[in-house]
Symmetry: C2
Subunit: 332 residues, 2 copies
C-alpha cells in the first residue's frame, strides 16, 4: 500500500498520526510501503472566529504535532508559548477569556486570517502554513466552507430552557461537564468537500479512522456531502480504531457526545454506529477495540465488520504504531 488517508480530529488524531508515520518509516505496518504517503482530512467544525481571527484547532494540532511545534504535555498549542496578548485582551475586558490563545499560536491565526481575507481558501492557507511546518503528510481541511459545531445545553434561565454554545465553549469553558442535549453542526449539510478530499478517499490504498471523537471529529467529516459515499465506494479497505476503551473515552468527551445522539458509550456500539460497508450506510470494513473490550468483538463481527482486540493506549510511538499495525492487519 502506497497511499493512506486518515480522517482526523485534533489531539487524538494527531497522536495516532505520529505513530502511523513512525510505523511506516520503520516498516512495521503489514503491506504498507516504507515510502507510503499519508493524506489527512482534518475536521474543521471545531473552528472558531476569535478576536477577529480564524482559529482552526484540529488543523493546527495536527500541523504542530507532526511539525514538531506542539506543546507535547498539553497536547495542543505551541511549545515555549507565552501568553502576553491573552493577558492584555483580558485587561481590556474583551470576551472570551477562556480560550487558550498563545502569542506564538496567534501568529498562525494572523497569517491564516490575512490569507483568507485576501481570498485564498482554507485549503490553500493550510498548504501555505504547512510549507513551514513540513508535517510529513498532506493536510487537507474537510471543507473550505464555514462549518461550526454548536452544542445545545440545558439553561434554566432561558425561556426555552436551552442555550446553544459553540463547541469550543462547551469543551474549553464548560469542560463538557453538562449534558449535551443536541449537537448542531451549522453549515455541514450545505458545505462542499475541500479540493482533494474525495479523491483522497477514493484514490487511497487504505483509509483509517483514528481513535478521534466519533461524533464531533470523525462524525462531522463523515457529514460533509460526498465523504460518506466516497468511503462506501472506495476500493480501499476502511478500518477504524475505537476511542472508547473499557467503556470510557481515554482523552476527550465522547460520553456526552455519544449520549446526545443516542449511541451507547462502548467500543462495540461506536463500531456498529459507523457500520459495515456491507450494510445500508456503513463506512467500515474493520474495527479495532481495546483488549479490555474483547468481549465486544463478537457483537461487532455480527454487524459485518472484521474485528479484533489489541492494546489501544497511545502511550508512545511504538505502542501507537502497533495499534496502526493491528488495525491494518484486520483488513489485509
Amino acid at each position: 500500500m502506497d497511499s493512506i488517508t486518515v480522517l482526523s480530529g485534533g489531539v487524538g488524531g494527531a497522536r495516532f498520526l505520529q505513530g502511523l508515520l513512525h510505523g511506516i518509516a520503520h516498516g512495521r505496518l503489514p503491506g504498507v510501503s516504507p515510502d507510503a504517503t499519508v493524506t489527512v482530512v482534518a475536521n474543521t467544525a471545531d473552528d472558531l472566529w476569535l478576536h477577529g481571527l480564524k482559529v482552526c484547532p484540529d488543523l493546527d494540532t495536527v500541523m504542530y504535532t507532526l511539525g514538531g511545534g506542539i506543546d507535547a504535555e498539553r497536547g495542543w498549542g505551541r511549545q515555549d508559548e507565552t501568553w502576553s496578548a491573552k493577558d492584555e485582551l483580558a485587561a481590556y475586558g474583551v470576551e472570551p477569556t477562556w480560550f487558550g490563545l498563545g502569542d506564538r499560536d496567534l501568529a498562525t491565526h494572523l497569517v491564516r486570517t490575512q490569507m483568507l481575507d485576501a481570498g485564498y481558501p482554507l485549503s490553500a492557507v493550510t498548504e501555505a502554513l504547512c510549507r513551514r511546518w513540513q508535517p510529513g503528510v498532506r493536510l487537507l481541511p474537510m471543507t473550505d466552507d464555514r462549518v461550526e459545531t454548536h452544542i445545545a445545553i440545558a439553561d434554566v434561565d432561558s425561556p426555552s430552557g436551552r442555550r446553544v454554545v459553540h463547541f469550543q465553549e462547551y469543551w474549553v469553558r464548560l469542560r463538557a461537564a453538562v449534558p449535551a442535549d443536541a449537537v448542531i453542526v451549522v453549515g455541514l449539510e450545505t458545505c462542499s468537500p475541500a479540493p482533494g478530499v474525495l479523491d483522497a478517499v477514493t484514490g487511497a490504498d487504505l483509509v483509517l479512522l483514528p481513535p478521534s471523537n466519533p461524533v464531533v471529529s470523525v462524525g462531522t467529516i463523515l457529514g460533509v456531502p460526498g465523504v460518506r459515499d466516497a468511503l462506501r465506494a472506495t476500493s480501499a479497505p476502511v478500518v477504524g480504531l475505537s476511542p472508547i476503551v473499557g467503556g470510557t473515552h481515554v482523552h476527550g468527551m465522547a460520553h456526552q457526545m455519544l449520549t446526545s445522539i443516542g449511541v451507547e458509550v462502548s467500543a462495540g456500539a461506536v463500531g456498529r454506529h459507523y457500520g459495515a460497508r456491507t450494510s445500508a450506510d456503513g463506512v467500515l470494513d474493520g474495527w479495532l477495540v481495546d483488549e479490555r473490550d474483547a468481549d465486544q468483538v463478537a457483537g461487532v463481527r455480527e454487524a459485518g465488520l472484521a474485528c479484533a482486540a489489541a492494546p489501544l493506549i497511545m502511550s508512545d510511538l511504538d505502542a501507537t504504531a502497533a495499534m496502526a499495525a493491528a488495525a491494518i492487519g484486520l483488513v489485509t
Copy 2:
C-alpha cells in the same frame, strides 16, 4: 485657563504631554487652573495596516505613555513586552519583519481592528481603549478616515528613479537615512476631522503645538481640512515649541522631512514655517526656541510671533513642565 488642546505626534508629543499634566497638577503653568482638562488631537497619518491589523503608533504612544503602559526606555510599545508572535511571523516568512510588533501591543491592535470591522469609527475605538488606560486626557484621532504618509525616495533600480515607501518603512526600516524626495500624505486632502477635533481647537482656552515633527506629525494634523482654519479662528492663543534644538532634531527625523519641503533645519525657520496668525495663513501666536537658539529669537519676532529662548530638553517631568510654562508665558 480651564481647557488646553494639544496637537500631538508620538514619542515627543507624549513626553511633552506628561510634563504638561505634571505642570497642571502642580500648579506650575501661568494662568492654568490645576483642574484644567487637556484634549489631545493625535496624528494618525503614521498609521498602518500590518498583518491584517490596524496599528496607530502615535495614538498608542500617547495612550500607553500617559496610561503608564509605555516602555519608557524605548519610548514606544509596551513595558514587559514579549515578542513571540513577531518571531513566529518571521518564521512563516511573512513580511514585513522590521516593525516592532510586541505581543502585548498586539492585543490593542486586535481589539481596535475588531471594533473597526464591527463599524465603529477610530475615534470611538480610541475612546474605548482609553477606558482601560485612563490617560488623563481626552484623546482624539485627527480623523476617522484612512490617511497614510508615504515618502518618495531615490531608487536607482526603478525606471522612474524613485520608490515610494510607507512612512513607517522609511522611519523604522530605513531609519530615515536616505533623503526624502517628497512627502505624500495619501487621503489627507479629502479626509474629515474626527468628531470633536475642530471644537477642541475653537473651544479651547489655549492651544499648544508640542515639539513634534513639524512635517509628518503636526504638519499632517494641520492638513486635515478645517484644522488650519480653526487654529486661525480660535480665540485661544496658539503657541508652539521647537523640535529643532541647536540646529538638529533632538529625537526624530525633522532634518529629512524639513529638507523635503524646502524648510531650513533651524528653530527659527520652523517657527516661521508655521507662521504668525497675523500673516496670510500662519497658525501661531508664539514660538519657544531652545536657549542654544537664542540668536534666532529676533528673526522669529520679525515674522510677527512672540518668541523667547528657554531650555527645551525634556530630561524629566519638571524640565518638561518648565518648558510648557515658558511656552504659555509667551502668550499670557
